[in-house]
């Protein structure tokens, strides 16, 4: 007598679980083949986050704050936004407060930071022009730079203060670059550091023919972009005011209030907020400034000091 093994057809849930299991195994197999390394993945995320961190440090420096103060200010803004939302008792207002603290606060302050950075860069380029003129009048480069640092204008006093002391020139230039936090200043410091010991006549030519014209033109473009950005910012503020006023007005009409009090209405408000933030982000993306390479001046000093170039 033979016993046939009869498999019962799986229930839909069993079938679904089997498909899920196959998908999980498929995922795992593909990632094993791809050689996904958790540590490398974490390193990649850190590397991708670095430009964001740099940007935040730039804003902090532009405001004249330390990075830590800026970080705490951002945390406080998010906290204040959430608290303000909670105080209204409307769930969507909490989301609004969070978005406001997260995006609107840095956006509003970034303009001030940008303007301050521009002022510093303008003063820096003027300082370079003066160094060039003094070198043309036969003053040694180091001496010219130290003399200017002693009588630096208010915008550059803190940035140039390392040059005023007796610190070695290469170290002082690294510190100046660190304080300036501007790619344009970095580029100029790099040229100073690599040319001062090797060929001062070449440095004068480099400043006159290449760096100063490029820096002046870049500053012109940045100033123009700043003016446009200020205009757009004003438009955004006006639109924000109109939309806030409209929301307040429609909330006072019973039918409209009824809509905005329910889930669908609140979702509509989220969509409106996301649209507004998105458009503001697009405006910011369109206004590009001239780009410069980001140098690690400590590495420059380490690399060229041994060869007697820095």
């Amino acid at each position: 007598m033979t016993h046939a093994i009869v498999l019962a057809p799986p229930t839909p849930l069993q079938f679904f679980a089997e498909v899920m299991l196959l998908l999980v195994l498929g995922c795992a197999a593909f990632w094993v083949v791809a050689g996904v390394d958790g540590l490398a993945l974490a390193g990649g995320i850190r590397r991708r986050a670095e430009p964001f961190r740099e940007r935040e440090r730039d804003v902090a420096a532009g405001l004249g704050w330390s990075a830590r103060t800026w970080a705490w200010a951002r945390v406080a803004a998010v906290g204040a936004g959430i608290l303000a939302g909670l105080s209204t008792g409307i769930p969507i207002a909490v989301v609004g407060g969070l978005l406001g603290g997260l995006f609107a606060f840095p956006w509003a302050l970034a303009a001030r930071a940008e303007r301050r950075r521009l002022r510093t860069e303008r003063a820096f380029v003027a300082m370079v022009r003066e160094v060039r003129d003094r070198m043309l009048a036969n003053t040694a480069f180091d001496q010219a730079l130290r003399d200017i640092a002693d009588t630096a204008p208010a915008e550059l006093r803190e940035v140039l203060s390392p040059l005023a002391g007796d610190a070695p020139m290469a170290e002082a230039l690294v510190e100046v670059e660190r304080r300036a936090r501007s790619p344009l200043a970095t580029m100029i410091c790099l040229a100073f550091m690599l040319s001062r010991t090797r060929n001062q006549a070449a440095l004068v030519d480099l400043l006159s023919d290449t760096l100063l014209p490029a820096a002046t033109a870049a500053l012109g473009i940045e100033t123009e972009a700043d003016v446009t950005a200020t205009q757009q910012r004003t438009i955004v503020y006006i639109m924000l005011l109109i939309e806030g006023g409209s929301l307040w007005y429609v909330s006072s009409v019973p039918t409209f209030h009824q809509f905005y009090a329910n889930v669908l209405g609140q979702l509509t408000l989220v969509v409106i907020a996301v649209m507004f933030l998105g458009l503001t982000w697009v405006v910011g993306r369109m206004l590009r400034r001239p780009a410069w390479t980001r140098w690690d001046m400590e590495s420059v000093r380490g690399e060229f000091e041994g060869a007697g170039l820095a």
Binding site: M20, L23, G26, C27, A29, F30, W31, V33, A34, G35, M187, L190, A191, L194, S195, R198, N199, A202, L203, D205, L206, D209, T210, P213, A214, A217, A218, E224, T228, Q232, M239, S246, L247, V250, T255, F256, Q258, F259, N262, V263, L264, G265, T268, I272, A273, F276, L279, V282, V283, M286, L287, R288, P290, A291, T293, R294, W295, D296, E303, L309
Partner: protein, 334 residues
């Protein structure tokens, strides 16, 4: 009808099997006359037979295909973007990611189905999202390679400013000076390309001279500045021109071009900015018209049906409304 289908199936099967046999016979030269096969062997041994891949040979006759193959080549994209992954690894990882999305959306679909009593998410959503992830991954690779090319151009242009000072009389060689400078940038794009000869991914044979190498890198990685640098190196090493003057002139022209580009972009941006600024009227319109649409389509139920009809999805069953908290619902339903 069923008989016809059955017959068609057999015909297809026979055609497939026959095709496979013909392909195998062609591949293994089974019906090639022995003297032709011998001649081919001889030509191959002497390097006179064209052994390039078929896409290259076809591309030579049809330039569009050549351009298409070049533009879509995954190997090239990964090499330019500085990725350490092999194409096979990239395919495996992207497929894994697609499967993960499929998995998550399928699980979500079944959970929502259990909660609502009927299917909420359409059946096509999970596979479409998985396919979308693959397309996005490819687009991200293209974007990454474009960004890398821009970074290479930017770094190289800024290095030229001090390169002349470093390679002047009694100074370092161009390659050494370039490597030393490249090591000091934060992104290290040029350094990653030049160190350990990583450019061999796209330039398999090292050219005989330095300027030819820079030409080849410039062409393969589509960074024209490398080619221009090659020209200057040639004029310095072959014609004996003053390196300081040559490199400084190149730096000046690079900056002039870059600033002209920035100026034209800034001018274009002023016009383009009108679009998002005008678009800011949209949130205001939504704010004012959403309650009206809600009222016109007949409250919450009508609204949900209208929205679902827009998305071609079946509306939530009555059970979903019964099970969710009453405070979530619009007054028309609650």
């Amino acid at each position: 009808m069923l008989e016809l289908m059955g017959a068609l199936r057999w015909i297809l099967l026979v055609m497939l099997a026959g095709g496979a046999c013909i392909a195998a016979a062609w591949h293994f030269d089974l019906y090639t006359p022995s003297h032709v096969a011998a001649t081919r062997r001889l030509l191959r041994m002497r390097g006179l037979l064209d052994t390039r891949p078929i896409q290259v040979r076809v591309g030579e006759r049809i330039p569009f295909l050549k351009q298409l193959a070049r533009e879509t080549s995954l190997t090239r994209l990964l090499a330019i973007s500085g990725s350490r992954q092999e194409p096979g690894q990239w395919v495996a990882m992207t497929a894994g990611l697609g499967l993960l999305v499929l998995l998550v959306l399928s699980a979500l679909s079944i959970v929502l189905r259990a909660a609502a009593g009927s299917s909420v998410l359409p059946l096509w959503l999970a596979p479409s999202a998985a396919g979308g992830i693959v397309v996005l991954a490819y687009a991200a690779s293209r974007q990454s390679s474009r960004g890398r090319r821009q970074t290479l151009t930017l770094e190289l242009g800024d290095m030229l400013v001090t390169l002349g000072v470093l390679v002047g009389p009694g100074g370092a060689s161009v390659e050494d000076a370039l490597l030393s400078l490249a090591r000091c940038t934060r992104e290290k794009a040029v350094y990653e390309l030049l160190r350990n000869e990583r450019w061999t991914q796209l330039v398999p044979v090292r050219p005989r001279t330095q300027y030819q190498l820079f030409w080849a890198i410039g062409d393969a990685y589509e960074v024209p500045l490398f080619r221009t640098l090659g020209d200057v190196i040639r004029s310095v090493t072959v014609k004996g021109l003053d390196p300081l003057e040559q490199y400084t002139n190149l730096a000046t022209s690079v900056y002039s071009a870059r600033l002209a580009d920035a100026q034209s972009q800034a001018a274009r941006a002023k016009i383009k900015l009108a679009i998002p600024v005008a678009g800011m009227i949209l949130p205001l319109l939504v704010l004012l018209t959403a309650p009206l649409i809600y009222a016109i389509v007949g409250g919450g139920e009508g609204m949900s049906q209208w929205l679902f009809s827009l998305a071609s999805v079946r509306p939530l069953s009555g059970r979903a409304f019964e099970t969710c908290p009453q405070s979530w619902l619009p007054p028309a339903i609650a």
